[in-house]
């Protein structure tokens, strides 16, 4: 902004030049004009000059004030003031340099960013929430496992706290399945033993509430439990008849042989024990004074079953003692546990020796798979989310800023923009890469669902590239930062093109490229870029014909960085080049 003050004399000169009249008459006119205006104002009138504005008289009321030095109260007299309200046309012309600026609703902008941000985080969030709900469902199932396994009496509603534990357990199971170490087998065995104990304790508590027959019931239930396990192994063996689960074919042969002894007996007693199980909890829960006939029944059945159960427990122990391959062992373990935890729902429904075990085992393997898939997707989702969010944040900011004018940019984000451009550069590069990788990742997920068991082993191998990608990205990032200074040099040295235009400016008398440059780029030295963009129109940058339409190009912000001495230096070099050439 040039604060050059022009006297009336210059105005007179310009009028004389315009109308080709002598200065004297122009001067007399100007004086007369303001005299008339003054006169009219003194008469209390307002004067309107076409295309210029309105002069008005405004009475400023007398007001009290305080003398700053003495602190005395003084009364300032009211006075008249001439106010000038410029005409709309004049306003427009005067405000031309900033005409392209428009008020921005900040809240809109922030909400825009927020919504965009939420959009970018929304997808992963949605996925996460979906996954979370899935996990919750799975965890509900697994919690059944964890309860029996660890003997924790945690309510199923306390999902969140329990989430971690089951996942770890599932991982354990997976590890077991893969690694197949004897130690873990032993752990499993001990776990199973613990479970039994816990079950017993539980049942003791439950049954204490009931009756005198407690002890008998306790034995029965414990037996029932073992029985049920045996039953399951038996039923598992029966499943292949229906041809649903392949994995059962891998069942340890020893177990088969062991359980075969019991199959005939246990299958027969299956139904009865089931009934017992159902009837007992009902009795315990609902009515303490339930008909003793049931209990008697239970007693009789239990006596019948006791030997069997002993056999079964022995079988199980045998099975544990014999160190099978890990896969088989763990699978059997899984099936057992799965059957365990699915018992509660079946209690409510009618017992079906065949259909019951089939479903849970199927569910169990599937659930295991889904949890794995979900965990994997979560990991990938987090990584993607992290990169997407950072990238999109940059993108959003950058695009929003680019919509704004360079003048404001200079003011607000002089430093930030350069940074963001660099970020954007690498982001655009990395972004694509990242997306591609994701696609690669996602495919194994979907295939895993279909491939069932096989994918379990392949999964951990898939997760490895994640870390490598992150490393790659960080390396790239560093590389781009290093390239920053180089890119600036390239910008300086390379040929500059100005595809975008911020505004057009018509050259008037007294207007110079430097002034325009200062107005648009914030520094006079950057006029060279305007000149470069208008070389076809401007022959001599020192002397531009009036009325020449000048294109104000959009210059790379790194080039017109006021704070960067390199930029100024370069601009000055160019200045010397262009001006020197003319001379």
């Amino acid at each position: 902004m040039n604060k050059d003050k022009i006297s009336s004399q210059e105005i007179i000169d310009s009028i004389a030049l315009q109308l080709k009249i002598n200065k004297r008459s122009a001067e007399t006119f100007l004086k007369a004009m303001f005299a008339v205006i003054e006169e009219a104002l003194i008469n209390g009138e307002s004067v309107k000059v076409k295309n210029f504005g309105t002069f008005k008289l405004q009475w400023n009321e007398a007001r009290e004030s305080v003398n700053v030095t003495t602190g005395e109260k003084i009364l300032l007299d009211g006075y008249n003031k001439i106010i000038f309200a410029p005409d709309a046309k004049l306003k427009e012309i005067v405000n031309e340099p900033f005409a392209f600026l428009e008020p921005i609703q900040l809240d809109d902008e922030t909400t825009k960013i927020e919504t965009l941000k939420s959009e970018d985080t929304f997808d992963p969030l949605n996925i996460l929430s979906d996954q979370a709900s899935e996990i919750k469902e799975l965890l509900l199932e697994i919690n059944g496992l964890s309860k029996t396994n660890a003997g924790l009496n945690i309510d199923r509603t306390e999902e969140i706290q329990e989430e971690e534990v089951p996942v770890e357990e599932v991982k354990e199971v997976i590890e077991n399945a893969e690694e197949g170490e004897g130690e873990e087998e032993e752990e499993e065995v001990s776990e199973v033993k613990e479970v039994k104990e816990v079950k017993e304790v539980k049942e003791v508590i439950e049954i204490k509430e009931v009756n005198e027959v407690i002890e008998v019931n306790e034995v029965i239930e414990v037996n029932d439990y073992d029985e049920a396990e045996a039953e399951r192994t038996v039923t598992d063996r029966e499943i292949p008849d229906q041809g649903i689960i392949d994995s059962i074919e891998h069942e340890p042969a020893v177990v088969q042989s062991d359980s075969v002894d019991d199959t005939t007996d246990s299958v027969k007693t299956d139904a009865s024990t089931e009934v017992l199980k159902i009837s007992q909890p009902f009795e315990n829960a609902d009515d303490n004074s339930m008909t003793p006939s049931n209990e008697a029944e239970a007693g009789t059945i239990s006596t019948v079953q006791l030997p069997e159960n002993h056999n079964n427990t022995i079988d199980l122990e045998d099975k544990k003692d014999i160190k099978e391959t890990a896969n088989q062992e763990s699978r059997a373990f899984q099936q057992e546990t799965s059957n365990k935890f699915t018992i509660p729902p079946t209690i409510l429904s009618t017992p079906d020796a065949f259909s019951m075990p089939v479903k849970p085992s199927n569910k169990r393997t599937k659930g295991c798979l889904i949890t794995l898939v979900v965990i994997f997707v979560l990991v990938v989702g987090f990584i993607v989310n992290y990169y997407l969010s950072s990238a999109t944040r940059c993108w959003i900011k950058y695009t929003l800023l680019s919509e704004e004018n360079t003048a404001r940019l200079n003011k607000f984000d002089r430093k930030v923009t350069t940074w963001m451009q660099n970020i954007e550069d690498w982001a655009s590069g990395i972004f694509v890469k990242n997306e591609n990788k994701n696609i690669i990742y996602l495919t194994p997920d979907s295939s895993m669902l279909q491939m069932d068991t096989i994918s379990l082993k392949s999964e951990p191998a898939d997760t490895l590239p994640d870390t490598t990608i992150i490393e790659n990205q960080t390396v790239n990032e560093k590389a781009t930062i290093k390239n920053e200074t180089d890119s600036l040099k390239i910008l300086f040295d390379g040929p500059r093109v100005y595809p975008k235009t911020i505004a057009f400016e018509k050259m008037r008398e007294g207007n110079r490229l430097t002034l325009i440059a200062e107005r648009y780029y914030g520094l006079k030295d950057f006029w060279v870029y305007i000149y470069e963009a208008n070389k076809d129109r401007i022959s001599n940058p020192d002397n531009i014909a009036n009325g020449t339409e000048i294109r104000i190009p959009k210059v790379d912000k790194r080039l017109i960085n006021k704070d960067n001495p390199e930029c100024i230096k370069k601009a000055k070099e160019l200045h010397d080049l262009y001006v020197g050439k003319k001379n």
């Binding site: 008339v36 003194i42 295309n51 004049l90 405000n95 031309e96």
Partner: protein, 96 residues
């Protein structure tokens, strides 16, 4: 007093036909506008100064909706009366 009235008054004062006066007036306005567009301030002796000022950008808050709006910077013409004119019109109120 509107433009035509002004023109007629000036023409009567300096004994010039209205058409010429109008032309002159337009020329004056044009040259003024030109100067303002270049960001220059114009001082008229014993009348006042016309000055182009930059109104800085600011954030306005709508009192009702609480919508915050960034008002961009703006160039406006500002007129400051000269002290001579101020004195002239100071008595105006008391005289009336």
């Amino acid at each position: 007093m509107n433009n035509t009235e002004l023109v007629s008054k000036i023409s009567s004062k300096i004994n010039l036909p209205k058409k010429e006066v109008e032309e002159l007036l337009n020329a004056v306005v044009k040259s003024f506008t030109q100067e303002f567009a270049d960001g220059k301030s114009v001082g008229i002796q014993s009348f006042g100064n016309f000055e182009v000022r930059k109104r800085e950008e600011r954030i306005s808050v709508h009192p009702m909706t609480q919508v915050r709006t960034l008002i961009p910077p703006k160039l406006v013409v500002n007129f400051k009366q000269s002290s001579i004119l101020k004195d002239k019109i100071k008595d105006l109120k008391t005289n009336e």
